[in-house]
């Protein structure tokens, strides 16, 4: 035996270490990839990386298996002429053929009607490029996964505090004393959050988790507060009620930094009822969405402009302005609103005892008030007040899809934002902290196009495909107020659907509502499986023919790295690379990986050559842009402007001379500028030399209170992060929402919603948060379907990606439905039994696993473990297909109509404000499967065949990976 102590790795083969950025999930940790004789030997966290500080997760550590996966696509493919979609019968074609085919088809569509081309992308990180491509093409039909992911979280918070959880901000656990985590299982910030939670606990911080299920992070919480799904809004409102009642709110913070003390017109008879009183005399910054021309009610002087020196405004009361206008501070309106939301009321809805709610409110309020943090950091606010310290109230929150993925999520998240605001915890130490480019104005400046004229043949779209409506005039609707986009985003049905509504694209395109399209291009989205709601139907619609025998969705292009379920339905398949084989940028224009202390962006550098004929999708898009003659991708004489993606990244500027490009680091001719500066031809090298990451640490005085931090805001404007240096006052009260409501009530000149939607808008565009039952729950027979069904992300799997990963799939080769024994026994179901789970859409068969860690009215399973037979290069009898199951078959993409057909297509099963897919609203019943039934999961689909170019390696029973030796003879 060789002495292990004398077995240094480098003796065994040629080793090298390359740095890049992980993409086994969207967290994007820095990694060091050790290669031995050209094969991956070991992937470790990069200890110098600001995000993960050297740690890595289960997925990141399994990148090796992604490289050797037999599910890898390696050739461009075209559906065989005589084969049906879904049958997975393809022939190899060359890239030239594929590009010709695309150029011809898309060129035609662009010349005729750019709307006919729809580009939708899944859990990707290239929206800066894909969005730009869509805009250049001129189609309004573009979005990424945000609409079915967590847009409620983004919109609910950004429309309230100018920043959000998710990638844009988070809890400052380094200084917090109390941490309340709500509806989070794993989240995007996976590794950093774990690092932080652990340090927080070890420092003795108190950690409370509010979740129907106790797993993962919640497992180590000091207190688990089980809650009924979809009811958190009630909890937050009751917490606010209690804090206001007892006086546990941060008065100074509310006055100075929020619109709490600002006066709202309070006369239901007036058209401007519910709008802030705006002083016509005060000069305002042109174009600013929330100018500082509002009033406070000073206790001595009466109405004064906000931030009048020496003023001490009232938060409560009801006043009359000199011109006779009755007004109230918005805080008073909030107080009126939460009056009825008592803990006892919330107990009946949430299932949390009123005493617990009160205790939680007191814990939050007293910690915020009595454990104040004071940091010796001087800063200047927007009103030129010098502060010689930064203070904070150390109560931090974090929340994710447990709040977002409900159709009442927007208001729930508004309520949470207000709770955080009332406690005085926004961008302060120990509370919530922004990450660049946030905070941004409320709402941020970019707007979607607002009329069908924005779409013209052979012309880029007039506006960005996605944006932040501030008024009804920003909606993307036609003269009748009907949607322009295929997904109906930014229409009166879902006005603030700021991330689009990808979950309705297939149904709408199939139905031809609002119009049929020609080409649906799916990039990195497994829409024939886990990212579709109502999956069985989605699969049917993808392959459905019209009366002439043509596909209802005529052309389907899929760009994927693996033989996913969706690939089987494609007409054209473009094989992408893996994250270890390409250049990528995690751009400030998209979703960067900034830290609390300043902007951070990063790149990936290829550490391995592309497999087979795989091509980085970005290169393909750039070439396609050149071939189609899209202005941004071509020179004045019509030739392609960029060789490839790396070339594009260093040279592209958002507009000539803007100095803004895809990467923020090492800009300028000499690489000495940050965020803004001329293109730097050596930019890639500089990233490479710095661990693939650019981290710009702000001066300490710019690190806090950024919504109102004069220095920071001016710096941010100078470095092109924001357009205004105006203070970003927190919207306790949302005037933006009230504008839409006023339009619905006919109290506003300009656009009005179509008749059928007026009541809906008037109800849901409430400027203050309120609680309502999730929409599906309102429509469904709750006695028949007594249970809420949820999914959770397993920490060791990323959506559907990892079943092809030989290591990760051993951890989760199939899934169970977790049921509280109380609930199961009531149905005579034993642990391990096969059961049926039925929703209003249909039923799935699966296995039951008892769990004491789930609220009895809830059942749940791990997300996206079940797979269609044969997909992902798994054998047709693989556990994923035979024992695993997918809950999505039970979740509707549209609200149940209960048989009433009014001729109008049903609403999307989404939040009525943001269009967020309401995954977690689904209600089910469970029953034991008969003993004679086959012990396999349902539904089953005919096995997907391997595609050409896949599984070049013979599959044997054994796989023993040793870097440098694997598969070499």
């Amino acid at each position: 035996m060789k002495d292990p102590a004398a077995h240094p790795d480098r003796d065994i083969g040629h080793t090298e270490v390359k740095e890049t950025t992980c993409y086994m999930c969207a967290c994007r940790c820095g990694i060091r990839v050790h290669l031995r004789d050209g094969q991956v030997r070991y992937i470790e966290g990069n200890p110098n990386h600001p995000l993960n500080h050297g740690v890595i997760c289960a997925k990141g550590s399994s990148g090796i298996m992604k490289q050797i996966s037999p599910a890898r696509l390696t050739k461009p493919l075209r559906r065989k002429a005589n084969a049906r979609r879904g049958e997975s019968q393809f022939e190899e074609i060359s890239w030239d053929e594929a590009m010709d085919l695309l150029t011809e088809r898309l060129g035609r569509l662009r010349a005729e009607d750019p709307r006919q081309f729809a580009l939708f992308t899944g859990r990707d990180q290239m929206q800066a490029l894909t969005g730009m491509f869509a805009k250049q093409f001129g189609t309004p039909n573009y979005a990424a996964h945000g609409g079915f992911c967590s847009v409620n979280m983004a919109a609910g918070m950004i429309y309230s505090i100018g920043g959000s959880f998710w990638e844009f901000g988070g809890p400052d656990l380094e200084r917090a004393k109390l941490f309340v985590m709500i509806g989070t299982a794993e989240d995007h910030h996976s590794n950093p959050l774990k690092v932080q939670i652990s340090k927080f606990k070890r420092r003795g911080g108190r950690f409370v988790s509010i979740n129907p299920v106790r797993t993962g992070y919640s497992a180590i919480a000091d207190e688990w507060v089980p809650i009924r799904p979809g009811t958190d809004g009630a909890l937050f409102l009751a917490l606010i009620h209690e804090l206001l009642k007892v006086g546990l709110f941060d008065r100074d913070f509310l006055i100075q930094y929020t619109n709490a003390a600002e006066l709202v017109i309070d006369d239901p008879d007036r058209d401007d009822h519910g709008m802030f009183y705006r002083d016509p005399e005060t000069p305002i910054t042109e174009g600013c969405t929330d100018p500082q021309n509002k009033l406070w009610w000073d206790r001595e002087r009466g109405a004064v402009l906000t931030h009048t020196k020496g003023a001490d405004p009232r938060l409560m009361g009801s006043f009359t302005l000199a011109d006779g206008t009755p007004v109230k501070p918005s805080f008073q309106l909030l107080k009126d609103r939460v009056e009825r939301y008592t803990p006892e009321w919330a107990e009946g809805i949430t299932g949390i005892p009123a005493a617990t709610i009160r205790r939680l409110a007191y814990e939050m309020g007293v910690t915020a008030r009595d454990q104040k943090i004071e940091l010796p950091i001087t800063w200047t606010d927007c009103w030129d007040n010098e502060h010689d310290s930064v203070t904070g109230n150390p109560v931090a929150f974090h929340a994710m899809r447990g709040l977002a993925a409900h159709s009442n999520g927007f208001h729930t998240i508004r309520a949470l934002s207000i709770l955080m605001t009332v406690l005085g915890t926004i961008d302060r130490p120990g509370g919530f902290r922004h990450r660049a480019p946030f905070p941004r104005p409320i709402p941020p400046c970019p707007k979607p196009p607002n009329s069908p004229e924005a779409v013209q043949p052979n012309t880029p779209l007039d506006g960005l495909p996605l944006g932040w409506p501030a008024t009804p005039e920003d909606l993307f609707v036609d003269a009748d107020g009907e949607p322009v986009r295929i997904d109906k985003a930014f229409s009166w049905e879902y006005p603030l659907s700021v991330h689009g509504m990808m979950h309705n694209v297939i149904t709408n395109a199939w139905r031809g509502d609002p119009y049929p399209i020609d080409t649906l291009f799916l990039f990195m989205a497994n829409m024939a499986w886990n990212s579709s709601m109502n999956t069985t139907e989605a699969r049917r619609m993808l392959a459905d023919l019209d009366e002439h025998g043509n596909y209802r969705i005529p052309f389907l292009v899929v760009c994927d790295t693996f033989a996913s379920e969706t690939v089987a339905f494609a007409d054209l398949v473009l094989p992408d690379t893996t994250y270890l084989e390409r250049h990528d940028v995690l751009s400030m224009l998209d979703r960067p990986i900034s830290e609390f202390d300043g902007p951070v962006d990063a790149v990936r550098l290829p550490v391995l050559p592309p497999k087979g004929e795989c091509r980085p999708f970005q290169d393909v898009l750039i070439e396609l842009g050149g071939r189609l003659g899209l202005p941004a991708f071509t020179t004045a004489d019509g030739r392609p402007k960029y060789r490839n993606y790396p070339d594009f990244v260093v040279n592209y500027e958002t507009s000539p001379g803007s100095g803004i490009g895809f990467l923020a680091g090492w800009r300028g001719e000499f690489g000495d500028k940050v965020l803004k500066g001329e293109p730097n031809p050596r930019q890639w090298e500089q990233y490479a030399a710095n661990g693939c990451v650019f981290h710009h640490e702000l001066p300490r005085s710019y690190q806090y209170m950024r919504n109102w931090n004069k220095g920071y805001l001016h710096w941010a404007r100078a470095h092109a992060l924001t357009r205004w240096a105006e203070p970003i006052t927190l919207h306790l009260y949302s005037e933006v929402l009230n504008r839409f409501r006023a339009a619905a009530l006919g109290k506003r000149p300009g656009r009005r919603p179509p008749e059928r939607l007026r009541e809906r808008i008037a109800t849901y565009f409430d400027p203050l948060p309120f609680y309502y039952e999730p929409l599906e729950t309102q429509l469904i027979d709750k006695i028949r379907y007594p249970l809420n069904a949820l999914t959770q992300r397993p920490m060791a799997m990323y959506h559907s990606w990892d079943s092809q990963n030989a290591w990760l799939r051993q951890i989760h080769s199939h899934n169970y439905l977790f049921v509280n024994p109380q609930t199961a026994l009531a149905q005579d179901i034993a642990d391990g039994d096969w059961i049926w789970v039925e929703s209003h859409l249909g039923q799935v068969r699966c296995m039951c696993r008892y769990s004491e860690a789930v609220e009895p009215g809830t059942v749940w399973t791990w997300n996206a473990i079940g797979k269609a037979a044969g997909a992902w290069a798994l054998s047709a009898d693989a556990d994923e297909a035979k024992k695993g199951f997918l809950l999505n078959h039970l979740i509707g993409e549209e609200l149940p109509t209960n048989g009433t057909h009014s001729g109008v297509p049903p609403f999307s099963n989404s939040d009525p404000i943001t269009g967020q897919a309401a995954w977690y609203d689904v209600r089910v019943r469970i029953s034991r499967a008969e003993v004679q039934e086959p012990r396999i999961s349902e539904p089953q689909f005919p096995p997907m065949r391997p595609v050409p170019g896949q599984a070049s390696r013979p599959r044997t029973r054994w796989q023993a990976y040793v870097a440098g030796l694997f598969d070499r003879h």
Binding site: H812, Y816, R849, E852
Partner: protein
């Protein structure tokens, strides 16, 4: 534990082989002191060959248990600490003794070497091999049994009963085989061996039942509480950390229903104890040459079941860690 066929065969075959050898030697000693009639050289040689055959078959079976049989020789090295290693040494010694014993009988090298005592007990080479072989056989029973009995956290096994059972069941089956052998050859020793076989079988019934009763009431030292170090009455595993099994889910559990195990227990309790005893008694009454063979066959089959049960019954504490998939 997962009952591996290789080990079931190994232990039952060599147990019977050793027993048969001991029966031969006992017969020879009885004959030497003239309590029974002496037998022919062929009788001993044939019997030894049979015993050796069983030992060789057992050894052969054991190879199937090894992942790397070609390295089996290495297993002799750790006799200072490992009962397995000791078995590996003693088993060939046993085979050598049986071989020499049989060959010397066969070749007729039975000239007395010396005579013991006034009465004159002539001692020849076969007797020397026989008696020392007997010691080796006992040692081998102990080694084999101790492989199981020495694993202290396999509490079903970690008791003197294990040694008693291996010994007595081996003797019972060996003497039963001797009886069958004698009956088959038509010698008059059927009764002699048969009587001993019945005695050993009844003794084994005692120790084996005692073991069953002990194990039925066994309170295991380890529990989920000690396994994960959490003090609470209610602990349940939700996930063993992987879904489709591992070495730890295959090696240490029989994956059979409790009903199956209970049935098998009944079968072995019948086949090992009353059935052969009745058959051998019937054989005595009917002077049948075939019934003793049947008696042995029944007992051996019963022993296979007994050994399966022996493994299945042992609850390895590691199983506490591998109970639930999710």
């Amino acid at each position: 534990m997962h009952p591996a066929l290789s080990v079931i065969f190994l232990t039952t075959l060599i147990g019977a082989g050793q027993g048969l050898f001991l029966a031969l030697v006992t017969g020879q000693v009885y004959a030497a002191i003239r309590l029974i009639a002496p037998q022919s050289a062929e009788f001993y040689a044939g019997g030894s060959a049979l015993a050796l055959g069983l030992l060789v078959a057992g050894l052969g079976a054991s190879f199937f248990h090894l992942g790397r049989p070609e390295r089996a020789w290495r297993a002799a090295s750790m006799w200072r600490t490992s009962w397995l290693s000791r078995e590996v040494i003693v088993l060939p010694a046993m085979m050598a003794m049986v071989f020499l014993y049989g060959v010397f009988h066969w070749l007729g090298w039975t000239q007395p070497l010396f005579v013991i005592g006034a009465g004159g007990l002539p001692v020849d080479a076969t007797l020397v091999f026989g008696v020392s072989g007997a010691l080796v056989a006992f040692a081998l029973y102990v080694c084999t049994a101790m492989i199981y009995a020495s694993v202290k956290f396999l509490e079903e096994w970690a008791s003197p009963y294990t040694i008693a059972n291996f010994l007595l069941l081996g003797l019972a089956s060996g003497f039963m085989l001797a009886a069958a052998y004698a009956a088959y050859l038509g010698t008059e020793l059927v009764g002699f061996y048969g009587t001993w076989a019945v005695i050993f079988t009844l003794l084994a019934l005692g120790t084996r039942s005692a073991a069953l009763i002990r194990n039925a009431g066994l309170k295991h030292k380890s529990s989920l509480q000690t396994a994960i170090g959490v003090r609470h009455r209610v602990i349940e595993q939700r996930s063993q950390g992987f879904t489709a099994g591992s070495f730890n889910t295959r090696e240490f559990f029989h994956h059979r229903s409790p009903r199956f195990v209970a049935r098998l227990r009944l079968i072995f309790l019948l086949l090992v104890f009353p059935v052969p005893v009745l058959l051998i008694m019937l054989a005595y009454v009917l002077a049948s040459p075939t019934l003793p063979v049947l008696a042995f066959a029944a007992q051996y089959v019963g022993l296979l079941a007994e050994r399966w049960h022996f493994f299945a019954e042992a609850r390895h504490p590691q199983n506490l860690y591998y109970q639930s998939v999710s």
